[in-house]
Every structure is written in structure tokens, then in C-alpha cells.
Point group: C2
Chain length 263, copies 2
DNA sequence: CAGTGGTCTAGACCACACT
DNA sequence: GTGTGGTCTAGACCACTGC
């Protein structure tokens, strides 16, 4: 049966008189399995931090060999959607209790030590509901005028205000988010999004520029106006490449730097 | 024989009375195979762009199963050291003819089109031999005073000078590099390093900051002094994590941005 | 057609974690 | 010990490339 659709899966266009697809759209069994596991992840069948069924169980469920399930999970692990722990199981990745916290924050102290300075202090400057501008709507795949939440905050390291950022979130998914919630939660903001709103950020893209601090930025970051700052625009995505957050940050880079690994 | 050292490999401490290692230093067969293939890559047994032996051949050579070789090559492919092509073979990765040229250059035109503007025009400002400063020596794992080459150049897109960068290269490995060579070669600089000096860059790390253009930078990039610029400091490594290039660039980000994917 | 990488299976055994 | 993921093997067949 190798390489054809397994008994458990109704392959697309499996009937004899189905319209012929120009591209056969052949997809390996393990990718189909990966898709099914992905669906369960999206549907919340297993919550972040929880273990998913063992490879043997999944193999039985989908009526394929363990090796095929293994390859599917390997893919998901490579995409950081899932974490394997030998002897324990495979767990849904989470921004909480992940030993690498702040996975998406690439700003490092020049001293090198990743977090010798400890977690950032958060200060919420503003948190309000408003209607999406054309620009925000485009980034979040909404319509202009749709409800969005905007949060402005300052992150400080060792008492020094270092990051000033605005977050825009789709109002529908983040109904009820408050400034207190943003400020009070211990740990990464994305961890709070998982716990409070069931929104799990999976990947993000950033566009980075150098800008000069305007009057307001200068005041909030306690630097002279015109100071060069790193402008970081991020769009973060959940499952299925659905954008769920637009973030515009300005970073001071006098004592920190943005670190990136190329390979 | 699964999981123990194969007949072809003399495992460390395989004799019965060998000194006991505090850490058993267990390493899977496929990682040992990976290490052997890596050695051949470093030694230049197969040159960039060439095909390495087929999985069956390698399996025979190392006396292991094809699946084990496969896993080793999978790892190497994931690290971009090697490229698999179904039906053709597995090839040593190269910065030449790689369909993604300029793999390490993350600066994109705001227009989005990755290379609608075509390749950059290069202008060599300076190219000289000198002795490594303490800072350069540290980055390149040399001793202060060792010979290094320094190249200063400007990259322009559509006639607009956009990148000003200095490169420092170990004098020993790049003996004879000239300004003409830097300017004349078509294609990525790292491709030239492969062809002319047998140096293949495998990965790199970048530290990014925002700075204000000084007088010289402003003049060379044709912007007003004080213009915010992206400062990008890169250390590029060959096999075995040996640093082979220090690069300090300043980027104009008025029409371009540094793009980064987080996952 | 033969040769290559890609997929799938079935079974064995190892390393690790918990109980 | 039991159950988990991790490794290794052997064999079969599929998909792609080029002769």
C-alpha cells in the first residue's frame, strides 16, 4: 500500500471518474498525517503544554506505521509546533514554561548573557479599542474599520526603558483584553495569549529599519530626539498562516543589539 | 548491531578495559556517519556544486544501512551543507548557481520583489593588507598583529549607494586577494571565495544596531550626516565553526529593509 | 531503461523517565 | 518494569532525471 492513500484517509479525487487535476497534487502519506495532526492542534484537541498521543497510538488511529507518524511529527517538531521529549512523550509547544522564553525577542544585552538582566519590566502606556486603519487591516487580513485593540507599552531592562512598542490585535479574537491583563501577567505576552484567548503564535516576520527618534519616542525612551533607533515591524501568525498581531517597536540599541543567526 | 559502533568505525573506548568515561559520550551511528561525511566535505573530497556519492554507495563505504546514511544526509541538508535533488543526487551546497543567491543578504527592497532590481553594483573603495587589531583578532580567532586583509566597498541598487561595508579576512587563507578580484567577479562574493580560495562560508551571526551616519559614511552613501543607518556586524564561519570573515556594514533603510523570519 | 532520492513498512533493540 | 521517543536494519515500491 506504500505511497497510495491509506484505508483511513479519503484521498482527494480517489474515485475513477474524478476530474483530472493538471497537477496530480501527490502528497506523501506522512504529509497527510501531518495535516491531520495539525487540524487537531488547531482545533485544540490537545492544549499547549499537554502531551499528544504516543506515536503508536497515532499510528493506530490513522492506520499507518509508526515510522510514518514519526516523520510527520519530525516535521512538526522542526517547525516548533511540537516538542519531543525522550522517554516522556511529544508535547504541544507553548510560549509558557518553554525553556527558551521570549523566543521571538532577538534583542540581547551587549554583555552577552542572554538574561542575566532577568525579565523585562512592562509598563502599559495605553490600551484601547479602535477601528482598523487601512494599513492595520491589510496586515491583519481584516477589513478597514473592523474592531482592533491597540496596546502601547514600554519594556525596560534594569530600569532602563529600551523598547517602545504598539500592538494591534484583532478585536474579535481578543475580546475583553484589558490593560490590567497585559500588565499583570507573569511571563511572555504570547503565553498570556495562549492561556487567556487560546491564540498561539507560531511564526512571525519582521522588517527592520533605522529611524530617528521623534519627540514622543524620545520622551518615552528617555533619549534625546533624533537618536537612532531600531524600528521593528512584526506580523505574527497562528496556525494556517493567519495573522493575529501587528507589532511596531522601536528599540534602543546603545546597550542592546538585535541578534540574528544566518544559515 | 543496532545502536552500537559498526564494524567500519573504531568507536572511542571500544575495548573492554578502556578507561571509563564519566559521560558515555554515546553518539548515534548516523551522527558518526555525518561526521565522516563532514570530514570529506572539509577535506574537499567533493567540491562545491559536485555530487557526493549516492546513498547506496555511502552505505556500502561505511558498512551501514541506506537508512542510516539517509538520516546523516538529512541532517547535513537541514544545515544547508548539502542539497538533495530527487532523481539526480546529493550535491555539495555552493554560493554559486544556488537558486537562492545572496543567501546571507537580508536586505530587501520595500517593493517586495526580492530581486526585481537585479544584482547589486559593487564598487571597491579600498583593499589593503594590515595587522589585526585586538578587536578584529578576537572576532577571527587570530592573534593581534596577524596579517589580515581589509576591503571596503559600496553596494548600490539601481544606482543608489545602499550598503557601505568593511570586510576583514585572515591573511593566511586569502593570500593574494586583490581589489580587481573583488570587483571583477560576477555573482556573490562568497562564491568567489569558494572558487578562488576554497573557503566555503557555512553560517554567520549578525549583530544589528541603529547608528547615525558619520561624515565619511554620509558622503559615501550620499545621505546627510546624522541619517539613521542600520549597523550590521557579521561573523561568517566555515566548517567546524572556524570564523573566516568579519564584516561591518551600514545599510540605508529608506528604500530597503532588513527582513527576518522568526519561527 | 537504470540510477537516484523519496516513501512506507515491520520488526528489533537502545536510552530515558516514571513508578 | 512499562511506556515513551530514538536508532538501526532490510526490503519493497514510487517519483523523478537522464540516457
Amino acid at each position: 500500500m506504500a505511497h497510495t492513500s491509506p484505508s483511513a484517509l479519503s484521498d482527494i479525487a480517489s474515485s475513477a471518474d474524478a476530474p483530472v487535476q493538471p497537477t496530480p497534487a501527490f502528497s506523501p502519506l506522512y504529509q497527510q498525517i501531518k495535516g491531520l495532526i495539525l487540524q487537531s492542534l488547531q482545533a485544540g484537541e490537545w492544549k499547549p503544554g499537554e502531551a499528544i498521543p504516543s506515536e503508536m497510538d497515532l499510528a493506530a488511529r490513522y492506520r499507518v506505521s509508526q515510522g510514518t507518524v514519526r516523520k510527520a511529527i519530525d516535521d512538526l517538531a522542526a517547525e516548533n509546533l511540537v516538542v519531543r521529549r525522550q522517554g516522556k512523550g511529544t508535547f504541544v509547544a507553548t510560549h509558557s514554561e518553554q525553556h527558551v522564553q521570549y523566543r521571538f525577542l532577538k534583542l540581547m544585552p551587549d554583555s552577552g548573557d542572554q538574561d542575566s538582566e532577568g525579565p523585562a519590566q512592562r509598563q502599559i502606556v495605553d490600551c484601547k479599542r479602535l477601528r482598523a486603519s487601512a494599513e492595520v487591516a491589510r496586515a491583519l487580513a481584516l477589513r478597514s474599520g473592523d474592531a482592533v485593540l491597540q496596546v502601547r507599552r514600554i519594556l525596560s531592562f534594569g530600569g532602563v526603558p529600551t523598547i517602545l512598542e504598539d500592538l494591534w490585535l484583532p478585536g474579535a479574537a481578543f475580546k475583553g483584553l484589558s490593560a490590567e491583563q497585559m500588565a499583570g501577567y507573569q511571563g511572555p505576552t504570547y503565553a498570556m495569549f495562549e492561556v487567556e484567548f487560546g491564540v498561539r503564535m507560531v511564526r512571525a516576520e519582521e522588517k527592520i529599519r533605522a529611524i530617528a527618534a521623534d519627540a514622543q519616542q524620545a520622551q518615552l525612551l528617555q533619549v534625546p530626539p533624533g537618536t537612532p533607533l531600531l524600528s521593528v515591524e512584526r506580523v505574527a501568525y497562528t496556525y494556517n498562516d493567519i495573522p493575529m498581531e501587528l507589532r511596531r517597536g522601536v528599540y534602543r540599541t546603545d546597550t542592546h543589539h538585535y541578534r540574528n543567526a544566518l544559515s
